[in-house]
Subunit: 204 residues, 2 copies
């Protein structure tokens, strides 16, 4: 019996290192792929349709919103961004796990469309580590750093909507824990019930 | 902040290999220990009180039942057997994970006393594998094998009370998956909420 993949929704404050964890996880897991977003903004040089983004016209994007074609979507700088439902579901049905790296508002939308997704919030070991990391980049002004910290604190309020917290102490440890979460979720009774019913609960 | 350990309740039909998986897991995980049962039967040669069993008089055992001192208990061949609540809780509070290898009726009792335990049902890849394994031992009569298979089928009916299924394809794979389940459970939001609340949700 073909097993469905998982939708892994990964959020966390700017600077926490969730991109690095996802990249490292994807590098070592062929059975997992990154979700490709759709957008109405124009492709930048070198960007390929279907790889970096699905590039859609405003009209097409709105048509798909009306047809409930997105797991989540938002407007940013007058352009639409969203996660096309069909593309993700196809991957999942084929048995691949899909990672969706997304902010909290988007995650909440995904949750209402696909509650069987796995919601993971990446955290620093402590709040002061986040500030340290943001400052450590050395690329941001004090104002930007403070506004990111404020935004992080606002995002933390949504943490109870998530299933797991992934403490990013080291990339290696955090990636290992992400691997454990994925393996464990695949062992959940509810994700195996069809097979179990057929094989063990049928009175043969 | 000291983290609590997990109570891992592991069931599965006779012959499925759950003992081997637990032994292998314990061998490689110092942070996990096997629960020690209490019993009213007499110690056999070489058995040590507090190591193999806690040996109790019938009177003492019944007193502890009345005081709600067991996570589960049962009578077998006119002797009581049970899992002392205090000993398990002490380990868990100290941060150690505790494995309780137990049949389904006992697991149901544990569930009502301590619902935050992790319930894991060990299964063979397919039903025919179980029969093969029971026959492969070469030590049981046909009658015993058939009655064990019937008992297994009766136990499967309780599988929906468990959180996870652990398919024992190979001991190594199954032990790895058990490791993943334990790691993932330690990442669950609900098991880390106190720390998160203190560190990230306090408006400092």
């Amino acid at each position: 019996m073909k097993k469905k993949g998982l939708l892994l929704v990964i959020s966390g404050p700017s600077g926490v290192g969730k991109g690095t964890i996802c990249k490292e996880y994807l590098r070592t897991h062929d059975d997992c792929t990154l979700s490709v977003s759709a957008t109405t903004r124009s492709p930048r040089e070198g960007e390929i349709d279907g790889v970096n983004y699905f590039f859609l016209s405003h009209e097409e994007f709105r048509k798909r919103i009306d047809a409930d074609g997105f797991l989540e979507h938002a407007v940013f700088c007058e352009n639409y961004y969203g996660t096309p439902k069909d593309a993700v579901m196809e991957m999942i049905e084929s048995g691949k796990d899909v990672i969706l790296e997304i902010e909290v508002q988007g995650a909440l939308q995904v949750r209402s469309h696909y509650p069987e997704a796995v919601f993971i919030f990446v955290l620093p070991p402590a709040l002061c580590d986040l500030e340290e990391r943001l400052r450590g980049r050395g690329t941001e002004t004090e104002d930007v750093i403070l506004s990111r910290l404020e935004r992080a604190k606002a995002e933390f309020k949504y943490i109870e909507k998530y299933n797991y917290v992934l403490i990013n102490d080291t990339v290696e440890e955090a990636t290992n824990r992400l691997d454990a979460i994925v393996k464990a979720e695949h062992c959940l009774l509810c994700r195996n019930y069809k097979y179990i019913e057929k094989e063990f609960l049928n009175d043969k």
